[in-house]
């Protein structure tokens, strides 16, 4: 047994080892490779994982949530319902929520809602959605599971976890004009592959990190999942403290990862050498410099998803689209990641700019990111997107092709009707 303060002070433990040790029974020190049972601070599911979790919960014959105040259901993926099948699953969620008195949120993307309203450093957050890793941007241990495991968390407040090994990534140098957080992470995944960090925890360090806003960190922690990682964490610093102060939230634990910890791998990314990246199609393992891709003609430009549609993404999009028109024959769809961002986009005048350019500005939903509504691709169509994945059939027809890039690159491409370099517009 160790006290919380000895665990926090132990310089030989990684972030993941400290977070799990602090949040499991007995505060025993758990190291990479150990299996631990963690106590969960927050557990959420969305409108596609939630119904199956409810089914598993009810099949086990459990009739009580461990703590309704820590269970959240979010209706975000196909919001509002695009057809009656979806509507029926949404009403199943609403009935469950009213029976159990837990929390519900409709029309905000779960990860952004959790960041804006719930997540704090040192918490254990499990979501029945892979991009739950996003909350690592402010130092929470946050990861995704499936529906049945979510049902078990709802029942018991606990779940088994293998303590992950850690990959330390150092970001050095200034980001050049036109290169953003999304380019960093697309570049990294292109280097290490879709399983480059499988089962691992990523810790981000270096001078460049100090310059990254919470929005940029959220993008990286979210998109890191595409390397297979369990969690992707920015240790708490001044930027995170300022954010917490603004939202009036206290850390659960301030975890300083040890620097005598053992790492599975260490990387250094020289940010000043990066270029805008375009990844795909069909895989995140092929990341190209934007100029290699400029002959690709596009039908759709999508700026949206929890990966990349926060206010700083809309700011750069507005900068590029201001006074310009979307290319004829190309559609541009912009979907903010939360209602807060939506309102801010209205207040700052971005929505006028988007509409004047010919873009569509939609309500908050996952929508086109998962090919469920509001921008689904047809046969043979080509898209460039700021969303999370470009896999076969993800955004629509199996013969459609999707490329991933930062919102700036997507916006520049919307103007030119083909993959375009954002640096010309900034």
């Amino acid at each position: 047994m160790s006290s919380a303060s000895t665990i926090l002070k132990n310089d030989g433990l990684t972030f993941a080892e400290k977070a799990i040790s602090l949040n499991s029974d007995g505060e025993k020190i758990h190291r990479a490779g150990d299996i631990a049972v963690v106590n969960i601070d927050w557990a959420f599911a969305q409108d596609s994982s939630g119904p199956l979790a409810i089914k598993s919960f009810e099949e086990m014959g459990i009739d009580k949530l461990w703590d309704p105040s820590r269970v959240l259901l979010v209706i975000d993926h196909t919001y509002p319902a695009a057809d009656e099948k979806v509507a029926n699953l949404h009403s199943m969620i609403r009935k469950f929520v009213s029976k159990h008195g837990c929390r519900i949120e409709e029309g905000n993307i779960s990860h952004q809602y959790v960041l804006e309203n719930i997540a704090a450093p040192g918490m254990i957050i499990f979501g029945a959605d892979s991009h739950t890793t996003q909350a690592g941007c402010i130092g929470a241990f946050a990861t995704g599971v499936g529906s049945t495991e979510m049902a078990i968390i709802w029942a018991s407040g606990q779940i088994w976890v293998q303590v992950p090994e850690t990959i330390k990534i150092k970001l050095e140098g200034r980001l050049p004009k036109g290169v953003f957080a999304r380019d960093i992470i697309l570049h990294y995944i292109g280097e290490v592959g879709e399983d480059g960090a499988n089962y691992k925890s990523i810790e981000w360090y270096g001078d460049t990190v100090k310059e990254l806003t919470i929005d940029s960190r959220a993008c990286i922690s979210n998109a890191s999942m595409e390397s297979g990682c369990k969690t992707s964490v920015f240790p708490i610093d001044e930027v995170a403290r300022r954010f917490l102060k603004e939202v009036d939230r206290e850390p659960k634990y301030v975890i300083e990862p040890g620097d005598r910890s053992e790492y599975a791998d260490e990387h250094m990314i020289e940010c000043e050498k990066l270029q805008p990246v375009v990844t795909g199609p069909d895989t995140l393992e092929t990341a190209h410099a934007v100029e290699e891709m400029s002959n690709i003609v596009i039908d759709e430009a999508f700026i949206g998803s929890s990966t990349n549609c926060r206010i700083e993404d809309l700011e750069v999009t507005a900068r590029i689209l201001k006074g310009r028109s979307i290319h004829s024959g190309t559609r541009c769809i912009i979907t903010p990641a939360s209602k807060k961002i939506y309102k801010e986009a209205i207040n700052r005048g971005y929505v006028d700019i988007f509409l004047d350019s010919g873009a569509v500005f939609t309500n908050v939903t996952c929508g086109a990111c998962v090919g469920t509504h509001l921008g689904v691709l047809g046969d043979g169509e080509v898209a460039i997107s700021s969303s999370s994945r470009n896999y076969i059939g993800r955004m629509g027809a199996l013969t459609a092709k999707a490329y991933l890039a930062s919102p700036a690159t997507v916006a520049a491409s919307a103007v030119e009707g083909r993959v375009a370099d954002p640096r010309r517009y900034l």
Binding site: D47, D129, G146, T148
Partner: protein, 172 residues
């Protein structure tokens, strides 16, 4: 012992391929999900396979989304086990959670060809290729996962023990 035919797939078969979102997000019925198993690569897959067949795949099988509908679709389409060179983490957990047996063998796609008959022993974690007569050892499954494998997932486990593997005083 499980006996069946191998359907061999490449590296990085992700969950969007195994079942696209627009189908999996519109039903809670596992047999409906099963109609779309492997839709991204072969829309006739559920009709082609026989109950008890296996998927054999390269590295990082099941990457991407957390959708439990992916292993559920495979299981209810009739797939009895998946043998891959490696698995993505959430898919790996989901298979144990729902009771779809999976085994890891680092070079299995070099040792099994499309259509080979396999004999899988889940007690000893071996896969025998009846065509080449070769027996391969898979990574052993231990601890909680072994209990989940034996009792075919969390729901069955819970129904039987009225507890979870870590709260059961003496796991089976």
């Amino acid at each position: 012992m499980l006996r069946g035919k191998a359907w061999v797939f490449k590296d990085c078969v992700n969950t969007d391929i195994i079942i696209p979102f627009r189908f999996k997000s519109r039903t809670n019925d596992p047999y409906e999900m099963a109609k779309y198993a492997m839709y991204g690569l072969d829309q006739d897959f559920p009709k082609k396979i026989s109950k008890g067949d296996f998927i054999v795949a390269g590295r990082n099988f099941g990457g991407g989304s957390s959708r439990e509908q992916a292993p559920v679709a495979l299981k209810y389409a009739g797939i009895a086990a998946v043998v891959a060179e490696s698995f993505a983490r959430i898919f790996y957990r989901n298979c144990f959670a729902i009771g779809l047996p999976i085994l890891e063998i680092p070079d299995v796609t070099k040792r099994v060809a499309q259509g080979d008959e396999l004999l899988i022993d889940l007690d000893n974690f071996t896969v025998q290729n009846l065509k080449t007569k070769e027996t391969m050892s898979a990574k052993r499954i231990t601890g909680y996962l072994q209990h989940l494998l034996k009792e075919e997932g969390f729901i069955n486990y819970y129904k039987k023990h009225k507890s979870f593997p870590w709260t059961t005083p003496k796991p089976p």
